[in-house]
Each structure stands twice: as structure tokens, then as C-alpha cells.
Amino acid sequence: MSPEELHSLLQRQIQQHLGSIAIDPGTLRALLDAVSATYRAFDADLLRAKERAERMRRAVEAAQESSRATRAILDDIGHKLRTPLNAILGYCEMLEEERAKALGEEGLQDLRRIHLAGRQLLEGVNGVLDRAKKEAP
């Protein structure tokens, strides 16, 4: 039932109830106007509340979408950084295991430095990305 239909139904009911009672037409008019005004105000409030709820729903959706996008970008950055790091660390370990003699003591020490720096870089990458994910909206 639309607000207009509700309003006219109410008007008819009041007039029916008051039909047999002698009432000043001015007072009846005023009463109907007051009831009408209350309904209109109520309708307007309801509409505003609905619009507010809709705006909030859209804002929540936008925030969720932005959070998903941020996480996807962070995952992509992680993958792009860790893939070559995986290779750097793996080749370092391979050389340490298989080419230690050929490298000599000095060469082996340099290789261990590269390996250590790679591990530090990996820890740094993991730390930064984990923090960014925790703090992502």
C-alpha cells in the first residue's frame, strides 16, 4: 500500500468515525491535516533512512573491494620478489655444497656473504609484506 493510499484510507476512516458526531468542519480539517503531516514526515524519514543504509552498504562494498585489491597487489609483490630470491638462495647453496673446493676459501667466504645477504633480504621482504598485510584496510 502506497503512502498516498494509506493516507486516503485513514482520512475515510476518521470521517466515518466522526460522521455521526457533530464536529466543527474546521477542527476536522485541522485533525486530518495534522495526521497527514505526521505521515508525510514519517515517509520522508523512512526514505532518508533507506538512502543512508544504501550509501553505507555501498561504502562497505567499496572498502571491501579496495582491501581485496590491496591484498592481491601485496601477494603479487611477494611472488615477484620471492621467486628470484628463491633462485639466488638456491644457487648459493648449490655452489656451497658442490663447488666448495673449486671456489677456494676466499671464494667460499664471498659466496657465504651473498647467501647471508640474500637471506636477510628475504627476511626483510617477508617482514615488510606481513606487516603491510596486517595493516591493510
Binding site: D75, H79, L85, G90, D130
Partner: protein, 144 residues
């Protein structure tokens, strides 16, 4: 029957990895430990090679082109010819969801990248031993 560690070391591993350097590095490290290694560059080729090469174990990265690792695992576990081959999934560090997805897709175990060779080798060993047990149980050899 041969020495079990000897037969394990001769096992054939199918390595499915799209990154050229990681593929080279990991396949060489596995070969240097005595495994026979065949490689595939994407999920689709991985599935085809699992059928053609009948490896003892599949080590598969999950983020692969053409067909990703989760989908490839699902296909492999649905096919009669390949469902018995254990799959070890490689997933990115900290992506807990990826690991759960890998097990749900039918992978038998997972390890995280960047790989730690000792940890990876012990998982490979455990899966190959498990498979050996499974095959022996199926064959019901009287002297095993």
C-alpha cells in the same frame, strides 16, 4: 628385494615449475642427490607428462601458467592413470589459504617457497616411502 634407500634414490620425480632458474636449480639439486628428474613448465604439460612418464612423485609449484597447480592436482587425482602418484605442492610463504587449497585439491603434502632443501628432501623421502608401502600393499607380495 633391493635396498630400500637405493630404490628410493633412483626414484623418478616430475618437477612442474614455470620459473626457468628455479626449475634448473631445483632439478639439478634433486639430480645431484640421485633422483631421476623430468621437468614441465606449466600445469597442462605437467598433467600430460605425469601420464606419459609415470613418475614416482610430482613436485609442483601452485602458481603456474596455462593450468594452475590446484587445477592440475585435481585433474591428476581424478584420473585412474595418475591418481596414485603423490603430489608435493610448492606454495608461497605465508599464504596459508594456498596450502589448504593445495590439500583440498588432492595434493598429498606441501612445502613453502623459498625452499629449504633439507626440509624438502625429507618430505620427498616420506612421500616416496609412503608410496612404496602403498604399492607393496596393493601387490601383496608374499616375501615383502
Amino acid at each position: 628385494m633391493g635396498n630400500s634407500s637405493e630404490s628410493l634414490r633412483a626414484a623418478k620425480i616430475l618437477l612442474v615449475e614455470d620459473n626457468e632458474m628455479n626449475r634448473d636449480m631445483l632439478s639439478r639439486r634433486l639430480k645431484s642427490r640421485g633422483y631421476q628428474v623430468v621437468v614441465a613448465h606449466d600445469g597442462g604439460t605437467g598433467v600430460a607428462m605425469a601420464r606419459d612418464e609415470a613418475p614416482d612423485l610430482i613436485v609442483m609449484d601452485m602458481s603456474l601458467p596455462v593450468m594452475n597447480g590446484w587445477e592440475a592436482a585435481r585433474v591428476l587425482k581424478q584420473s585412474q592413470a595418475t591418481r596414485e602418484i603423490p603430489i608435493l605442492a610448492l606454495t608461497a610463504h605465508a599464504m596459508v589459504m594456498d596450502r589448504e587449497k593445495a590439500l583440498l585439491a588432492g595434493c598429498d603434502d606441501y612445502d613453502i617457497k623459498p625452499i629449504e632443501i633439507r626440509r624438502l628432501l625429507s618430505k620427498i623421502h616420506a612421500l616416496l616411502e609412503g608410496k612404496g608401502d602403498l604399492e607393496r600393499a596393493h601387490r601383496k607380495e608374499p616375501n615383502s
